[in-house]
Symmetry: C2
Subunit: 505 residues, 2 copies
């Protein structure tokens, strides 16, 4: 098993909170928290029962919430889910004392009280079962923890595994929050090149094999961050063979792999091959077979820290996700939670628990994920069809994404008439402004580069998402972007009227 570095590590005198220490004592057999356990009770204390004046938690009597009801999507009517409330919904309910009255294992009194740094045992159990079914991690002592969202989890992981001036290995272009989170912690970024299958194993190996502490000003990295499925911003999904190669390099150089995988269940069909209606899955196992296996599923060493999120598959406002890793890593994350977020919101936990455990179940959850896959596949197709119609082929290239939320359009900036006088960044900026003037918002590729990578930028990209806009808006946005590109590059303008007509519906 890998060893953990620093900040929250045992070198620092970790102090137990009163809650923790009290919980330890109260959880002993014979205490009121465990009324049915008769074993191991010290003799003579049978009829005593511990009276606690210890942890300063308020009385649950004084939580002014008595019941919560949620109207949620029904498993038999996912297809009708849309902007309006569908005809068929399911009501789920949580009372304050459902647990003591035997109605449920989880209730408002538990959810709204102080909790454990792992998140509630009930939801951790459900997510652990889910992880077992979907990823089946090939080593024994893995564990799950509920995070307060992946940004929070990532920050705690960085504090745990990276010291100031340490390098984090990242895809050449990556999610901007990685930089924003790393910079205040003093983390630097080492870019790994990518091809159509994502991270390039040879480049990763070269970087690590030839790492020069003197040149880089810091020791050889021990931490790789990757978004393996529907990468942000490139949309690329690493095939299994690529993941296996990268994993072998990680073994060779003893890397931790932070697998940030919010789009794992947004694995879409191949572009233009999905017109056939997909039936909802009838078993979790069968559905899992349709997905590219995760790094976690090939992690024999416990070197993967897998971050899952509810943001793209349930709702971002839940501010909740889950992390799966070795029990040693999870134990440190629990310590990290205790001195920051403590645990995700109890409102979020009980809402998601009631939805997944009480209403949908594991199969229903996967049917929901399959429904989302179908929906985002349609949106993806609309965007790339519009690209084919409206973008000038002379200067634009793209590969239709097979997962996630993003299209990544390459623009040949060297075809700009001022190529000798303008940098790639300047051309990118001109296009971005022209697109805004034309009424389309897209994201410049340079935003996804670390500061140290911007000066040498040799390509111009734009990221576009099909996640939220209507199909009409997607088409219109791409039409405008194409027109803006033609203006900037002095290309003949498209007869947009006829083109628009040809795609109506």
């Amino acid at each position: 098993m890998l060893k953990i570095g620093q900040v929250y590590s045992a070198q620092k005198a970790h102090r137990k909170s009163v809650m923790q220490a009290m919980h330890g004592i109260l959880a002993q057999p014979g205490q009121p928290s465990d009324p049915n356990d008769k074993k191991g009770r010290p003799s003579g204390t049978d009829d005593i029962g511990m009276r606690s004046l210890g942890p300063g938690a308020p009385s649950t009597e004084y939580f002014p919430f008595y019941a919560m009801s949620l109207e949620v999507g029904s498993t038999n009517a996912f297809a009708t889910v849309g902007k309006e409330t569908p005809a068929s919904t399911t009501a789920i309910h949580a009372g304050k004392h459902d647990s003591s009255s035997g109605l449920s294992t989880y209730d408002l009194a538990i959810a709204l009280q102080y909790g454990q740094g792992t998140g509630s045992a009930q939801l951790v159990k459900f997510m652990s079962d889910h992880v077992k079914m979907v990823h089946s991690p090939p080593y024994r002592n893995w564990k799950c923890i509920l995070s307060a969202g992946t940004t929070s989890a990532f920050e705690i992981i960085l504090r745990m595994l990276a010291k100031p001036d340490d390098y984090l290995l990242v895809e050449k272009y990556t999610y901007t929050t990685v930089f924003e989170t790393g910079l205040p912690l003093g983390v630097k970024f080492a870019q790994v090149r990518t091809d159509k299958d994502g991270l390039m194993p040879n480049d990763l190996d070269d970087i690590l094999t030839n790492w020069d502490e003197t040149v880089r000003g810091s020791k050889k990295p021990s931490l790789l961050y990757t978004i393996p499925t529907g990468q942000n911003p490139s949309g690329i999904t690493q095939p299994l063979s690529r993941r296996q190669e990268i994993y072998r390099i990680a073994q060779k150089h003893n890397l931790f792999i932070v697998e940030d995988d919010p789009y794992y269940f947004i694995q879409l069909g191949l572009y233009k091959t999905t017109s056939q209606v997909t039936e909802p899955p009838t078993s979790v196992e069968d559905y899992v077979k349709t997905l590219v296996p995760s790094y976690l599923s090939i992690d024999t060493d416990g070197r993967v820290l897998r971050m899952d999120s509810f943001s793209k598959i349930i709702a971002p406002g839940a501010r909740m996700g889950w992390v799966t890793a070795s029990e040693q890593v999870i134990e440190r994350m629990v310590r990290g939670h205790e001195v920051s977020v403590q645990n995700p919101s109890g409102f979020s936990q009980i809402a998601v628990f009631k939805l997944l455990h009480d209403s949908w179940g594991h199969l229903g959850f996967v049917q929901w994920l399959a429904h989302l896959r179908g929906e985002y596949t349609k949106r993806r197709d609309v965007l790339f069809e519009a690209c084919e119609l409206f973008l000038p082929r002379e200067i634009c290239r793209w590969v239709p994404s097979t997962a996630g939320f993003f299209a990544w359009i390459s623009v040949d900036w060297t075809k700009h008439h001022k190529v000798g006088l303008m940098s790639s960044l300047q051309v990118e900026k001109e296009i971005h402004s022209a697109a805004i003037d034309a009424g389309t918002l897209v994201v410049p590729g340079s935003w996804f580069l670390p500061d140290e990578g911007k000066s040498g930028m040799d390509e111009v990209f734009f990221r576009m998402t099909y996640a939220a806009a209507s199909t009409d808006d997607i088409r219109e946005a791409i039409r405008r972007f194409g027109a803006a590109l033609r203006r900037v590059f002095h290309l003949q303008s498209q007869d947009s009227c006829s083109a628009v007509k040809s795609v109506s519906n």
Copy 2:
């Protein structure tokens, strides 16, 4: 206005997230997010309307929650609030699209989408109005931010205002989480002595005036952490005059004051003077006059960072609180949120917003707080009555608390028969173990000392809480604790049977 130190400060290149940057563009007049604003629109764009393929947020269509209903305490029936659901409750409701249908300013589609680092504008507005009514901060540019709980807020504040090896000034005994959170950040602790009115201004002044960098190994502190009301663990509440003295010392030595005030609304009547029934307040203003003014309310300089929490007054599981400080400090906290928790859970935000804004209003909220004050006053009285009955006066001293959750019992350890052979810590441990053997859980005072303060511990204390145990359990716990003390100190055992009888009801 005070200047902010380091980690999240402008020295670090702060990168804007895609969300932030996009929000800036979308919030410009004439964009779809602002359909009614006709002013300032660039000419020629009137009929265009921006199409956004920018931020990678999922479509709200795919949030599987359509409505939330909560059964909450009714303002006219707080007195019946108890373990069971009271006869009269109020139903509050949030739909997915209440905002676009004009039913509310806040709905599930907003709450469950990605949000802003401040927390939602709707709830920030309500809490800001509350702060204005209760504390009326005496300078212009103060602001509120919703925290993901006070532990999270405190960690972000430490990262913002303390560098490794910096000292934090704290009450001699203080909340253990302060140490747990500070230690991994490399923070050290300088203890300030306290008397019956809390922090001693002379001691604070002495420490700062005579600060010796060479001896202490670090520069003079710039950060004071205090729990001014119902201090944890001592239960002490600083009177206004004491707060004013401390504030003047803070001005003299240019300190930030972190005012951690979760028990502000648990200001109890004086012990044994509250048998008269208190009528619910009829105005916020009148109720506020019954409370000791906060540091925020005397903060002319913007040097106070006030941390409020819903944990003790609504529910800890909401994992939400609010921080009030200068706009410069809040702006930095927003940046801190963006790279960690982002914002509190949308489920928590909408539940609390619907409760406070839609159902209770400002007056109803204060009536609830007055109800809690009455309830905790009764519990406090039960505990100290039991102390009078059961604790051996020969070795125990206490001052009944006038706020918060805690009693702080001093035990004269020098009366132990092995006083020459045992340290204060050893006597404390013997008492703690004897109490557990007798079936009572209390918290040893040494747990509330920083590591550097334990060796010189000259007093033995125990912290007890009346917050959660039933009145019968409180009495029984104190009776057992008294018996344990008598055993440890070889005192004559009390005729406990007659004593118990004398307090039965």
